[in-house]
C-alpha cells in the first residue's frame, strides 16, 4: 500500500518536473530546428529534421567562454565565502555594537539596480586598471552574492548552540580559532548553499560582463552568446545550442550537490 502511494507521488513529481522544465525542452527543440522552420506556424513539437549546425558552431567556438565562466563562478564563490562567513559569524555570535544597522545596510545594498552598480564599477575599475579582466568580473559578481551570503550564514550561525562556542572559549580558543575549527566545519550545509547561489548568479550574470568585460580576451558565456547576435541578424540555432551546452555543467553540479542542498540551510548543527 505504502509503495503504491510512493509510486503515485513519484509519477506526480515527474509530471510536475516535466512541466517546469518544458521551456528547457523547447530550447533544445529550437536549437535543432532548421532555419527555414524556425518561425513555422504551428511549430514542430519535436525536431523532426534535426539541424546540428548550431552545436557544431558552439562546440567549436564557445568552449573558452565556458571555461572563463567556470573560472569566474568559482572565483566569485571563493571571494564571497571569504568575505561573508567571518562577517556573519561576528553578527551572529560576537554581538558587535551596530550589528543590526549593518544587517540593515546589507539588506539595502541589495536593492540597488544592476545597471547603476555596473556604471559605478566601470569608473572604479577604470581607475584601478582592472577593466576587461576576470578578476574585475569576479569582484563585480561577488556584489550579487555577498549580502545574501551574510544573511544566510547569520541565520544559520545564530542556530549554533552557544554551549559549543562557550566550550571552545573555556578551552582557551580565541574568536578566530573558534570560527575556523568549530563554526565553519559545522556550517558545511550553509557553505554549500551559499556557494550554490553564488555560483549560479555569477554564471548567469550579463549586465556586469557586458559593461565591464566588453573587450577582454577572456569573456564569460553570456558574452559568448553575442557572437551569434549580429546587428541585423540572429543565429537562433547557435544561441539556443549555446544555452543548452552552458546548462550542462551547471546541471551536473546541481545533481551532484543535491545531497548538500538537501541538507538545508537552517538545519541544526548538532542533532540531539
Amino acid at each position: 500500500m505504502r509503495n503504491n502511494r510512493s509510486l503515485v507521488t513519484t509519477v506526480v513529481g515527474v509530471i510536475l518536473t516535466a512541466i517546469m522544465l518544458f521551456p528547457l525542452y523547447w530550447m533544445i527543440n529550437v536549437s535543432l530546428t532548421q532555419p527555414t522552420e524556425l518561425r513555422k506556424d504551428p511549430p514542430n513539437l519535436f525536431p523532426v529534421n534535426p539541424n546540428f549546425e548550431g552545436y557544431t558552431r558552439v562546440l567549436g567556438e564557445q568552449l573558452p567562454y565556458l571555461g572563463t565562466s567556470l573560472l569566474i563562478g568559482l572565483g566569485t564563490v571563493a571571494v564571497t565565502l571569504v568575505l561573508s562567513a567571518p562577517a556573519a559569524y561576528a553578527l551572529a555570535k560576537l554581538r558587535p555594537r551596530g550589528g543590526t544597522t549593518l544587517s540593515f545596510v546589507l539588506l539595502t545594498a541589495q536593492m540597488i539596480p544592476g545597471i547603476i552598480m555596473a556604471m559605478g564599477f566601470y569608473l572604479i575599475f577604470n581607475s584601478w586598471g582592472i577593466l576587461d579582466s576576470v578578476g574585475g568580473l569576479i569582484l563585480a559578481d561577488s556584489t550579487l552574492a555577498v549580502p545574501f551570503g551574510v544573511l544566510i550564514f547569520t541565520a544559520f550561525m545564530s542556530g549554533i548552540p552557544d554551549d559549543l562556542i562557550a566550550a571552545a572559549k573555556i578551552d582557551g580558543a580565541g574568536a578566530w580559532r573558534t570560527f575556523r575549527s568549530i563554526v565553519l566545519p559545522v556550517s558545511r550545509n550553509s557553505v554549500v548553499t551559499v556557494s550554490l547561489f553564488t555560483f549560479l548568479w555569477a554564471w548567469s550574470d550579463f549586465i556586469f560582463a557586458s559593461t565591464l568585460d566588453r573587450g577582454g580576451d577572456l569573456q564569460p558565456i553570456t558574452m559568448g552568446i553575442y557572437r551569434y547576435i549580429g546587428n541585423n541578424t540572429q543565429d537562433w540555432n547557435a544561441i539556443m545550442a549555446t544555452a543548452v551546452v552552458a546548462s550542462i555543467p551547471a546541471a551536473v553540479l546541481l545533481v551532484v550537490a543535491q545531497r548538500y542542498v538537501a541538507a538545508g540551510v537552517t538545519a541544526g548543527a548538532i542533532k540531539d
Binding site: 506556424d41 511549430p43 540597488i112 539596480p113 562557550a166 549560479l200 549586465i207 546541471a251 546541481l254 542542498v261
Partner: protein
C-alpha cells in the same frame, strides 16, 4: 550568558545553598569585572571580523549609489561625461519624473508585477517544498532538477519564453489552439503583456523559493510532527497549525528577498516586451533603463531619479520588514 550558567551549575553542585550563593557571588564578581574589561576587546574582535565586509560595502555599494544620487540631482547630458560639467538642478529631475505620464502606469505595473510575482512564487514554492518533503523515490533528483531553470542566463530564459509565447509561431498558442482557445497575443497586446512577463518571472523565481522554504521545513523538529500525529491531526491541520507558523521566519525572509530582487527585475521584461506595447509592461526598472539607454536620446539624469525612487521603495519595504521582525521576536 552561557558562562554564567556554567558557573551557576558548577557552584550549585557543591555544598549548602548559602555557601553556594556566597561562593557564587565571590566567583561571579571577578568574572563580571573581567567581562567589562573584555567588553571593549570583544567589540574590537567583532569588528575585525566585520571590517572586510564594511570596506567592501563602502567601495562597491556606497560609491555607485553616490554616483547615482549625483546623477539625479544634476542635469547630466552625454557631453557631461566628457567635460565633466553638469548643472546642479536640485529636485527638478524628480519633479519631471513624478509628473510624467509614464509614472502612473510604471508604479502600477511595478506594484502588480512585484506583488503577484512574489505571492505566486511563494505559494508554488511552498506547495512544491511540502510535496518534495515526503521523501519518495527520486525526490531529491527531481528537486535538484527543479533548480535547473536558475542556471540559464536570463537572456536565454527570456528569449525562450518569448519564443513560446509568440502570437503566431509560439508553442503555447498552438497547444491552446489544439483545445480550442482562440489566439492570445501574449507579448503584443496591452492586456496580456503583463501576464506574459509575470509567467516568465514566476517560472524563474520558483527555484529560489523552493530551496529556501524546503530548508525551512527541514528545520522543524520531527518531535513536533510526532506530537501532532499522536493528537490525531490530519495533514491540512498539521500544515495550518504547525508547519506554516513555524515557517514564519523563513517565509518572511524569503518574501522580503523576493520583493527586493523582483523590484530590480529588468532583463526578463526588456527582452520579452521592452516594456511594451506602449507602457503596458513598463515597471520602474524598465523605465529607468529606457530613459537612460533604451532610446535614441539618452536622458541619464531622469533615469537616475527613477532608479532612486525604486531604491526608496525597496528601502521602505525593508523598514516594514524590520518592524515586523521585531514584533515577531517580541511575541
Amino acid at each position: 550568558m552561557s558562562v554564567i550558567k556554567t558557573v551557576d551549575r558548577s557552584t550549585a553542585r557543591g555544598s549548602a545553598r548559602e555557601a553556594a550563593s556566597a561562593s557564587m557571588d565571590a566567583a561571579s564578581r571577578p568574572l563580571r569585572d573581567k567581562r567589562r574589561g573584555q567588553g571593549a576587546k570583544a567589540q574590537l574582535v567583532a569588528w575585525a571580523f566585520l571590517a572586510p565586509v564594511v570596506v567592501y560595502l563602502v567601495l562597491f555599494y556606497a560609491y555607485p549609489l553616490y554616483r547615482n544620487l549625483d546623477l539625479s540631482f544634476r542635469d547630466y547630458t552625454l557631453r557631461s561625461f566628457i567635460d565633466g560639467t553638469a548643472d546642479f538642478v536640485g529636485f527638478d529631475n524628480y519633479v519631471e519624473v513624478l509628473t510624467s505620464s509614464t509614472f502612473g502606469p510604471a508604479i502600477l505595473n511595478t506594484a502588480v508585477f512585484t506583488l503577484v510575482s512574489i505571492a505566486v512564487q511563494f505559494v508554488i514554492g511552498l506547495a512544491l517544498a511540502v510535496f518534495f518533503f515526503r521523501k519518495f523515490p527520486l525526490s531529491s533528483t527531481l528537486r535538484a532538477l527543479f533548480l535547473v531553470p536558475w542556471l540559464l542566463p536570463l537572456l536565454v530564459s527570456a528569449s525562450v519564453w518569448a519564443w513560446m509565447l509568440n502570437s503566431d509561431s509560439g508553442v503555447i498558442n498552438s497547444l491552446l489552439g489544439a483545445v480550442g482557445v482562440p489566439q492570445i497575443n501574449w507579448l503584443t497586446s496591452p492586456q496580456w503583456a503583463m501576464v506574459s512577463v509575470l509567467i516568465a518571472n514566476i517560472w524563474i523565481g520558483i527555484p529560489f523559493n523552493l530551496v529556501l522554504l524546503y530548508s525551512g521545513l527541514q528545520n522543524i523538529p520531527d518531535e513536533v510532527y510526532e506530537a501532532a500525529a499522536l493528537d490525531g491531526a490530519n495533514a491540512w491541520q498539521v500544515f495550518r497549525r504547525i508547519t506554516f507558523p513555524l515557517l514564519r521566519p523563513v517565509s518572511a525572509i524569503t518574501l522580503l528577498l523576493g520583493l527586493v530582487y523582483t523590484l530590480k527585475v529588468f532583463d526578463i521584461i526588456w527582452i520579452m516586451t521592452r516594456g511594451g506595447p506602449g507602457n503596458s509592461s513598463t515597471t520602474l526598472a524598465i523605465w529607468s533603463y529606457r530613459l537612460g539607454f533604451g532610446s535614441g536620446s539618452p536622458e541619464l539624469s531622469p533615469a537616475a531619479a527613477v532608479a532612486n525612487l525604486l531604491i526608496l521603495l525597496a528601502f521602505a519595504f525593508g523598514i516594514v520588514y524590520i518592524r515586523l521582525q521585531s514584533r515577531m521576536a517580541r511575541a
